[in-house]
Amino acid sequence: MIRLIVLFSLVSNFLLAQTDQIPSIKLKLADGTNTSLEEIHQTGPVLIDFWALWCAPCLKAMRHLDDLQEKYRDQGLTVLGINIDTERSRSKVRSYIRSKGYGFTVALDPSQESYRRLNGTAMPYTMLVDSTGKIVYRHSGYLPGDEKILETEIQLVLSSQEGL
């Protein structure tokens, strides 16, 4: 009987809990400061993009991510580029971002811990998280034109946020 009650409690707990919430992963930003995913999404929706300097499609997509950051910054969107370059090119990341003049937030994850925990399988890996911390959109890879689809998803999240 006790086992049944415990099992029922756990199942109901899982069903009633806030599922599909992004876990709170600790991050080190490119400027050396520490933060967490939880802290970042508290200010509004977050577009997470995993990228690396060796990934040519990732670099192509970044121009568009920067445009999206500029366009929707005032509506609370944070674009977070998590760089997963290992030691082989970690030193070049800041230099690349700064010379490109990108204005979105960049975090460094050389051990690829966040990519692993969010189960990335193909690069670039993009996730859109709404202001409640729920993952509403995932996308793998980049093809020319994908940025338009991504923008539509962002607009949907922002409009649903306004309706709250």
Binding site: I2, I5, V6, S9, N13, F14, A17, Q18, T19, D20, Q21, I22, P23, S24, K26, D31, G32, N34, W54, C55, A56, K60, R63, T86, E87, R88, S89, R90, S91, K92, R94, S95, Y96, R98, S99, K100, G101, S111, Q112, E113, R116, R117, L118, N119, G120, T121, A122, Y125, G133, Y137, R138, H139, S140, G141, L143, P144, G145, D146, K148, I149
Partner: protein, 642 residues
């Protein structure tokens, strides 16, 4: 205790956990391939049946402060590496504001990884993760303490043969790693520093000569030996407003754990080694990024082992060799181009000093330039010396400075120039990427000194010393081009077009000196350019954003290094090759394929390939492996996140 009382704490726990954030996600990579694998032995034209099934499932479940990550593998056999069926990785993490605990399979690094770098790349069958526990405590905002303890087990032994450079890292270790890291953040404004110590108590395969009772060598075999190493190190990092500096130094001392008992074993004549070995490594980088310019300078200096050529080629498990859990920065450019990716600089983590400079210049919003220069060499070279009394042995020759690279052929110099132009044309969302790279690398060097040539009627200089230097150098020039653009129909076009020229120079340099005066009597230099190779790679794809992509790949080599031309026999043609041959295409040394992928959901991609792929080296962070080619193949890959 009554059931009700036992139930109370459980109900309290359950009620407390209501409203906790939960997260569940999974990632799937499923690969299947069926085709033929060509032999890489010179002159061998056989092709073996080659079928692989390699599937990974990553599952993450998070609940409150806990995260459970697991990785299942069902591979029998995988593309490369050993079979595995079932749970492969498992880790439980608990995190709070001031503390985190990871138990299970661990990844991560101290500093830039010189003494501890736990990472994995399934594509090259490399895994240096630990099974153990990693605790991080932050008693104050400025101080953090990391404690790591675990076991690293596994290995990959590379045979000596075509495609397998003796400098490619292999590994085999069953070691217990214990490590401590103290990090002080913002010790001074923007300045952080760390100090660490890493101890590895390991069992390594160890080669010895097997002797019979009369003392003659019967065979060469290996047994295991316990070794212990300790690596203290420190790093300093400074973040300025438009520049940053990083420096790390570490030392490694290594000893045979039970040397006395091993050396007293009568049946083993231990080869070459001392009971102790020590080495050191250093890495530094400086980046300066004022405005649209970004400059990064990197310096590496790894000097852990300088074994002579016999040990390097015959005894890969030498004492001073780095543990697989150590992997410092490579400090040269690892390319994403297909052809350059197949012909990388093969780094020697045990003995290499070098620099890398990279300049990024954002000329305008639409034009971006990258220049890269890398140069390196070993610290030591070896000369095979034949002494007058008949003794024959290796003599170590050092560079002029232990802190700088050398151009001298004896020290395996490597040099590469690289330039890249990225142009963006907004109306068409067109990205044009033009690259050019020129590199030269010493592949093999042999130096010999004969201190007195024996009497010979046919050799007029028999009473002279003979100095010989023979080297084999590779020059590469590569021109990769990549173009992507949006078509008016809403489709996207991707074109990759790469050319590569590869030359090998075989040079022999002979000097005869008079034995009594030491003066040079004769100098002979022979240089031979062996068969030059030319490669071409083309890939064309048409795509619809987030829907599908399809296209073809074409790969060509002017000659194949096994010496046997590929695709000459029409009887071995696949249907694709048959169509092309019947259309008048000369199929010799050409590999064709058609490929496509379909987005089943935005995060689920089904990829299909039919045709042939050329084999070659595949590297990550200086670790390389030969991935065999596959011909007349059908491959299917499914990647998904849910």
């Amino acid at each position: 205790m009554s059931p009700i009382i036992r139930l109370i704490p459980i109900l309290i726990l359950v009620s407390l956990s209501y409203g906790q954030k939960t997260y569940f996600s999974a990632g799937l990579i499923a690969q299947f391939g069926s085709g033929l694998q060509p032999s890489i032995e010179i002159g061998d034209t056989t092709r073996e049946s080659y079928v692989y099934r390699e599937h990974f499932l990553d599952v993450t479940a998070a609940y409150g402060n806990f995260t459970l990550w697991s990785n299942f593998e069902f591979s029998s056999p995988p593309r490369i590496g050993p079979d595995h069926l079932g749970l492969r990785k498992l880790r439980l993490t608990w995190e709070s504001e001031r503390m985190s605990v990871n138990a299970g399979d661990l990844y991560g690094q101290f500093g830039r990884g010189l003494a501890l770098n736990l990472w994995e790349n399934q594509g090259i069958d490399w895994d240096s993760s630990l099974k153990g526990i990693w605790v991080t405590v932050r008693p104050t905002e400025k101080l953090s303490v990391d404690l790591v303890s675990g076991n690293a087990a596994g290995g990959r032994h590379l045979p000596i043969g075509p495609g397998v450079d003796p400098r490619i890292r292999d590994f085999s270790e069953d070691g217990t790693v214990s490590a401590l890291l103290l990090t002080a953040d913002n010790l001074l404004p923007n300045l952080s520093a760390g100090f660490y110590g890493v101890e590895i108590d390991a069992v390594n395969p160890w080669y010895g000569k097997m002797q019979n009772l009369s003392g003659d060598v019967e065979s060469v075999d290996s047994i295991s030996v316990r070794t212990r190493s300790f690596s203290p190190g420190l790093f300093v990092e400074y973040f300025g407003s438009d520049f940053d500096i990083y420096m790390e130094m570490m030392k490694r001392s290594l000893e045979i754990f039970d040397a006395d008992s091993l050396y007293s074993t009568p049946l083993y004549d231990w080869l070459y080694y001392d009971r102790e070995s020590s080495g050191w490594g250093g890495y530094a980088s400086v980046s300066y990024y004022p405005g649209k310019l970004g400059v990064t300078l990197e310096y590496k200096n790894y000097f852990f082992d300088s074994s002579h050529p016999d040990i390097r080629t015959k005894l890969p498990y030498r004492l001073g060799r780095l543990s697989p859990t150590m992997n410092g920065p490579t400090a040269f450019k690892e390319h994403s181009s297909v052809l350059m990716g197949r012909t990388p600089h093969v780094m020697d983590f045990e003995d290499e000093v070098g620099i890398q400079a990279e300049v990024n210049l954002n000329v305008s919003d639409d034009l971006f330039l990258i220049f890269n220069y890398a140069q390196s060499s070993r610290h030591t070279g070896f000369r095979d010396v034949n002494y007058i009394d008949g003794y024959d042995g290796w003599e170590e020759v050092g560079t002029e400075s232990q802190f700088w690279f050398s151009d001298d052929e004896m020290f395996y110099p490597f040099k590469e120039y690289y330039g890249e132009m990225n142009y963006h044309y907004s109306p068409l969302n067109l990205d044009l990427r033009l690259m050019a790279a020129r590199s030269s690398e010493m592949v093999e060097t042999y130096a010999e000194n004969i201190l007195e040539l024996p009497y010979s009627e046919t050799h007029p200089l028999y009473d002279h010393t003979q100095e010989q230097l023979n080297w084999f150098k590779r020059d590469l020039f590569t021109l990769p081009t990549q173009l992507t653009m949006n078509l008016p129909s809403g489709h996207g076009l991707m074109l990759y077009w790469e050319h590569q020229w590869e030359d090998y120079h075989d040079r022999n340099y002979l000097v005869y000196r008079d034995l009594s005066t030491g003066e040079i009597d004769s100098v002979t230099t022979d240089e031979t350019l062996t068969v030059p190779y030319y490669y071409r790679y083309v890939a064309l794809n048409l795509s619809k954003p987030s829907r599908y992509s399809f296209g073809f790949v074409y790969d060509y080599a002017s000659a194949v290094k096994t010496g046997t031309p590929q695709n000459t026999d029409p009887k071995n043609d696949s249907w694709l090759e048959e169509i092309l041959r019947n259309s008048g295409v000369n199929m010799t040394n050409k590999w064709f394929g058609v490929q496509g992928f379909l987005y089943l959901t935005p995060a689920t991609i089904l990829s299909v390939f039919y045709g042939s792929l050329q084999g070659g080296l595949k590297c990550d962070s200086g670790v390389c492996v030969y991935v065999p080619g596959i011909e007349d193949a059908f491959t299917l890959t499914l990647t998904s996140n849910f």
